[in-house]
């Protein structure tokens, strides 16, 4: 693989699993629900993008939003 190495940043080595990469803020501006094309709410604590219209919560894994309806969590507290 010819990927350039990431610039060495002065941060603790061995980032733990509980310390995931953050979601790129630029993505927050352009992402919508793939089904409803409606807006998403960013739940930073749960690392989820929530589509109220579709009733789905899309997971963010290691900074990568997984915008697949069949991998999303179905919201139970729908009105």
């Amino acid at each position: 693989m010819s990927q350039p190495p990431e610039p060495a940043a002065p941060r603790p080595p061995e980032p733990r699993a509980s310390d995931p990469r953050p979601l790129d803020p630029r993505l927050l501006e352009i992402l919508v629900c793939p089904l409803s094309k409606g807006p998403l709410e960013y739940d930073a604590a749960a690392q989820e993008l929530i589509s109220r219209q579709a009733g789905l919560a899309y997971p963010i894994r290691d900074g990568v939003p997984i915008m697949l309806p069949d991998e999303a969590r179905v919201l139970e507290d729908q009105p």
Binding site: Q3, L27, I30, L31, P34, P65, L68, P69, D70, E71
Partner: protein
């Protein structure tokens, strides 16, 4: 295909009605993750598609700053587009750490795009759209995420690709087992590409193809390369049993017999389809309305006062 067993219907998380699709989305994701883990996705075939796309882009006299790379593989195309003042967002059908591009990555299906309208001024796709279940839907959604006068440019293998392999596998399986299952994906005919672009609302649509003949030392070398790219069978109606060893041997023999070259190598056709279209915008050249001409064509073709 009509007597093939009905595939298990895919049900979405929303509880929508089950739909049967050409390609098995989950199988595609598994293939991609397997490929990426092996770190083997360095196919020369993919480079052909990427280079072809970049050649076309070089002819466009425009600077793009917000780019979407749809189906980015290991990010090789995106890396060549990114640069000073150019932000590139990449997508793939599954995330795999080994092949993760250093650019922002979104996992999504090209026919279920999760981007707001007018998010990009260029959408590129090299070697990914041939796996899309709903290509007309994907094209329409691509147009929506483009700004007015934004460009869409895609290259992918077309209908004539791997015709030899398709033929050899079908003939061999029928010879050996008396039946055959589809093992090579159907691919988009270039002639349909232009119509699809137009239907999706693109202006100045262009669809063309370039037919290349690649040569391999042995049919197995071709299969190994396809597998390394993750380009193995993901048809929803694919045979769930693996290809039998004797069928494979027979297919290789038939392949060498019918598509062998004088030097002992075998030929494989790759048809590179290029689709290109612009999101409609102001100041684009548009055809005049019929009947709106002010000069008669006859006058132009046969001037009343010829020059000499």
């Amino acid at each position: 295909m009509s007597d093939a067993p009905t595939p298990p219907p895919t049900t979405s998380a929303t509880g929508a009605a089950p739909v049967s699709e050409i390609f098995d989305r989950r199988q595609r994701r598994r293939q991609w993750q397997r490929t990426a883990r092996a770190g083997a996705n360095d196919g020369a075939l993919l480079d052909l598609l990427v280079d072809d796309l970049l050649d076309r882009l070089a002819l466009v006299n425009r600077r793009f700053t917000r780019v979407l790379d749809l189906g980015c593989h290991d990010g090789r195309l995106a890396a060549r587009l990114a640069g000073d003042g150019v932000s590139v967002v990449t997508t793939e059908v599954a995330a795999a750490d080994a092949a993760r591009p250093s650019l922002p990555l979104v996992v999504c299906e090209p026919d279920l795009l999760p981007f707001a309208p007018h998010s990009f001024d260029l959408v590129v796709a090299a070697g990914s759209l041939h796996w899309v279940n709903d290509l007309p839907g994907a094209l329409a959604q691509i147009r929506h995420v483009l700004v007015p006068d934004g460009l869409f440019l895609a290259t992918f293998p077309g209908g004539a690709s791997l015709a030899e392999l398709r033929h050899a596998l079908l003939a061999a399986e029928e010879d050996v087992t008396g039946g055959a299952a589809p093992r090579v994906s159907p691919m988009v005919d270039m002639r349909e590409g232009g119509a699809l672009l137009q239907r999706a609302g693109f202006a100045m649509p262009v669809a063309d193809c370039d037919r290349l003949t690649l040569t391999y030392a042995h049919p197995m070398a071709l299969l190994a390369e396809l597998r390394a790219m993750g380009e193995t069978n993901a048809l929803a109606q694919r045979a769930r049993r693996p290809l039998r060893r004797d069928v494979l041997a027979q297919a290789c023999a038939l392949y060498a017999e019918r598509f062998g070259l004088p030097d002992g190598r075998v030929a494989a056709t790759l048809e590179v389809v290029t689709l290109m279209g612009w999101a409609p915008g102001p100041n684009q050249p548009v055809p005049k309305r019929p009947g709106s001409a002010t000069v008669s064509l006859a006058d132009v073709l046969e001037p009343r006062t010829p020059r000499d």
